[in-house]
Amino acid sequence: MMLSRTPRRPSTTSLRRGSAPLTQLHTELRSGRTRGRGGAPRYNREEVLTAALFLLPALAVLGTFVFYPIISAGYISLTSWNGFSPVKEFIGFDNYVRLAQDPAFWNSLMVTVLYAFGVCVLSIASGLTVALLLDAPLRGRGFYRGIYFLPAVTSSVAAAIVWRYMLDPSGFVNSVLEGIGIDGPDWLQNRWLALGSLTLLTVWKNVGLNAILYLTALQALPDGVFEAAQIDGASFTQRIRYMTIPLLAPMTFFVVVQALITSFQSFDLVYVLTGGGPQGGTEVLGMFMYQQAFRLSDFGYGTAIAFVTLFLVLGVTLVNWRASGSGRSPLR
């Protein structure tokens, strides 16, 4: 979508017919940018050299530490490698076959999917609620926005340490529960409660971010339509249900993609809050990969896990994109 902003080169035909706007023709002639006989664009040599010079530093870094590793990872996932030995033994798709038969992987996948689902649903709900509350000429709006955003600028390590402390059997949460006569559980020692706590921690950390995203989208909506609907007698809930939510579909898609990437990549929060436990109850894919690669020195297997994660993220995003595409609002 962003690429469409690149100025389009006038076509040769329009030049010949002399219908190109004068300014375009002028720029084109001045910089000597015309199409050669073969129809291939000819570039200004000096401009291309400048571009190469400007791009080189960033592309060198990204090429070495992002693009080369992606390709290299593809190969490593087909080998048995301890990370240190100079020899990577090629074993074909054995790592992937092993994954399919590994109950720890299926557990990790199930944990990640539940976690991602919970984070998506609660991120939409919390982000949208806060945004709707803030979408009014309200005193102290900047103050609220700042407060809700605090967890997002806090490091995952710090956030997880505090939550772990608050969820301690003798911690804050249980002492509050005790006050109202409930005997609180040991939150992080039960796998379902631990996964729930991790989900809430993630949502808490991102609520400000999602609220700002939704608020931006809300403020871009045309006011007139809402006023018209109100005059026609649409109630508040009807306006939310039939207007706001459908109109916000593109932003919801963005929020969901963000939430998916966050949960499929989650590592820091899990590492500090639970370490993946109890009994693998919060061992999300990121944690599982870290264990296999860096704790058990099984780098080939670890990379295969990472690739499966990549395809899952891409697949789910694609499905989501299709789904939100069909539900795209008629007003945009």
Binding site: E46, A58, L59, S155, V162
Partner: protein, 277 residues
């Protein structure tokens, strides 16, 4: 008239009430962290007040002595400064090329960069780690900084901003004899300060809070960043919650300060990242 006014006041009050309840829930962990950091060890197991009741500031001194937080701070600062300057310079040059210059495979390269945004860190982290290990960069500032000197997000953010600046300004300067590099530094850079500010804050927060990569490439206290130091500190002082919370506050304060001062730029950046879609 007055009924309408009353109704809107009531709605505003309702909004405030709900927002305050939410804000209290969001802030609670921070308050708890602060209160605990000022308690004695015995109090951390008995006290349930969320507001400070005792003021043992010496907990901070104890925490700082128990672990080299000063060194961790310095390491995080060096890494953050390196990464932020790398992003500002390298990303800006690349963004300019994508915004203004014409060269072969421009769109293909740009799409490739966009695609890289979707790739989880885990995919690249193992080969990147073995590459850095091969360079002998484990436990060095090089290993912490160089692999993250450029990032795709910054290139996209700056390109978006550059494209919005009218090119007539540059054309005029070019006609007056200014070089490409000259127009970049004299026209684009001064006009794009808001975008640079946004990128600097994003990059700083990313660097300061980053965990997995520094965890992998550092082994010694001399090179550990604040987040790694804090996680290690947690392992050792598992039950001394007051010292642990003092350390956690120590690690958190810089990002909160940066956030308070540059909130506007940060919010603008998030809004832009959502709208670009």
């Amino acid at each position: 008239m007055s009924a309408v006014l009353k109704k809107s006041t009531a709605t505003a009050l309702g909004r405030h009430a709900l927002l305050i309840v939410g804000a209290a829930l969001v802030v609670l962990p921070f308050l708890w962290m602060f209160t605990t950091s000022l308690q004695t060890r015995a109090e951390t197991y008995s006290n349930t007040s969320i507001f400070p009741t005792s003021w043992h500031w010496e907990n901070y001194a104890v925490a700082w002595q128990a672990a080299p937080f000063g060194q961790y701070y310095l390491n995080s600062l060096i890494m953050a400064v390196g990464i932020v300057s790398g992003h500002l310079v390298l990303d800006a040059f690349a963004a300019y090329a994508f915004a203004r210059l014409r060269f072969p495979f421009k769109n293909a390269i740009f799409v490739l960069l966009l695609a890289a945004l979707m790739v989880p860190t885990f995919v690249t982290i193992i080969p990147a780690y073995s590459l850095v290990a091969g360079f002998g960069w484990i436990d060095t500032y090089w290993g912490l900084i160089v692999p993250r000197l450029a990032d795709v997000f910054g290139i996209i953010l700056l390109r978006q901003y550059f494209v919005s600046i009218p090119s007539e300004l540059e054309d005029a300067a070019r006609i007056d004899g200014c070089s490409r590099i000259g127009t970049f530094f004299r026209i684009m850079v001064p006009l794009s300060m808001p975008a640079f500010a946004t990128l600097a804050i994003f990059s700083f927060l990313f660097a300061w809070n980053d965990f997995l990569w520094p965890l992998l490439v550092t082994n010694s206290d001399e090179l550990r960043t604040i987040q790694i130091g804090l996680a290690a500190f947690q392992g050792r002082y598992n039950t001394s919650w007051n010292y642990l919370m003092a350390g956690t506050i120590t690690a958190t304060v810089p990002s909160i300060i940066v956030f308070m001062f540059f909130q506007r730029a940060l919010v603008r950046g998030i809004a832009a990242s959502g709208l670009k879609d």
